[in-house]
């Protein structure tokens, strides 16, 4: 019978698995396998999301008239405020372009966006990832930045035919370059693996970063677009004797509450030399700070 030698089959499976793991780490050769399975896994994610959709639909049906009126009024007010801001923005943008031309630097490109819905959250507590309902068929590509209305959420790390996975900025394996909006101090913002907690790495004790500072993306690393809000500093602790201060931040985006996200389609070109200089800056600054402390 077929079950004659399961040990032999186990060996085949083990070898195959190890080869797959190695290939998945080192190359993109196994992408087609993943892509193929994607046709089978995406429906499960869609199905799992169905009850949420149904509840939301029901809530919308049963909303009262007064509530709708209220929300409409609120939205109208919001539109008014935003329109006023956009008026100023047009002038500022034109001015910015002119100044950039004077400086001979590349122009800010307007990024086009795609709206996607979140249909799944990673069940593994070790990983902070989301599944969205747009895939390769909607021109989603790996490395695209993902935002909500309040700020950056993460990046696309895996694309299936009908869905894609987004690595959140709070994942322990995630780090990105940010700068303080107030004064342009740059630092590396890393995830901690816990929802809504981020850390600034290698910030010298003397750096001018305070509680409440807004951190925006710098565009270095060429993955994230420049100038989007990412996080707000919630605590700064200085340790005497330590080279770096301990700075915690909270994402401006509501990572645990969003239901729709924006995918940014095109990137703004950034100049090369900046990228290489950046980590060195932080390290050098750290040494200075350590010397100063002694």
């Amino acid at each position: 019978m077929a079950s004659a030698n399961p040990t032999y089959r186990l060996l085949i499976a083990l070898v195959l698995a190890v080869v797959l793991i190695a290939l998945d780490q080192r190359s993109r050769w196994v992408e087609p396998v993943r892509y193929g399975f994607g046709y089978l896994t995406a429906p499960v994610h869609y199905l799992a999301h169905l009850p949420v959709d149904a509840v939301n639909g029901f809530m919308r049906l049963t909303e009262t008239r007064t509530k709708l009126m209220e929300s409409r009024e609120r939205l109208e007010r919001q539109v008014l405020i935003l329109e006023q801001k956009v008026q100023r923005l047009a002038v500022l943008q034109a001015e910015n372009t002119r100044l950039r031309e004077l400086l001979n630097s590349s122009a800010n490109l307007d990024a086009s966006v795609l709206v996607a819905e979140i249909i799944g959250v990673d069940p593994d507590p070790n990983r902070q990832e989301l599944v969205i309902n747009k895939g390769v068929r909607d021109d989603v590509a790996q490395g695209q930045a993902v935002l909500d209305s309040e700020g950056l959420i993460g990046q696309v790390v895996e694309t299936g035919p009908l869905s894609a996975r987004v690595l959140l900025i709070t994942d322990a394996s995630h780090a990105m370059s940010v700068q303080v909006n107030r004064n342009g101090v740059r630092a590396i913002l890393a995830g901690t693996g816990q929802g809504s907690r981020l850390r600034l790495l290698y910030v010298p004790d003397t750096a001018d970063i305070r509680e409440g500072d807004l951190l925006v993306s710098t565009g270095l690393g060429q993955l994230y677009p420049r100038g989007y809000p990412v996080a707000r500093v919630v605590s700064v602790r200085h340790h005497s004797g330590a080279a770096f201060s301990e700075i915690e931040a909270r994402p401006t985006a509501h990572l645990d509450r969003v239901s729709h996200v924006l995918l940014v389609q095109s990137m703004e070109p950034v100049s090369g030399p900046d990228m290489e200089r950046e980590p060195g800056d932080a390290a050098a600054g750290g040494e200075e700070a350590a010397d100063a402390a002694q």
Partner: protein
Amino acid sequence: MQLNSERPAGTGVILVTLVLAALLEVVPLSDNLDWVRPEWLLLVLLYWVLSLPHRIGVLWGFMVGLYQDVLVGTTLGQWGLAYALGAYFMLAAYKRMRVFPPLQQSAVVFLLVGSAQLLAYLVQESVGRTFYPPYTILYSAAASAVIWRPLCALLRWVQLRFLVR
């Protein structure tokens, strides 16, 4: 149990139970409940290995594991490895398993699920995607052991109702 000489039937039913398990695997839970989410796919797989060892074995385990990998976005082969090994252990133990009292069965399931998860954890560790310490997989293994008997009864009913053999 069905006789080995009978013609296999009900592969569709097996696949449906696996898809339902996959659904339970990704259905959104609160952060705290995620810790005790049983390994549904592995449990359903183990049941089918236990009851149809002549049909469902290591290679099924491997394929279901690969499916789980893509479903939860882990390194391709991580769960394939773990599930293949889980299925293999079950194949080696199914005769004893069938005569074990319920508590002992749950204990074996705890060990099987735990060792499969440990293997998966090691792979995840090696690619640098772990954050919590390894003992945290025990919660989910324990939940799997607790849910094993009821799940078994349910799948047994499904098997008899749809004549899977």
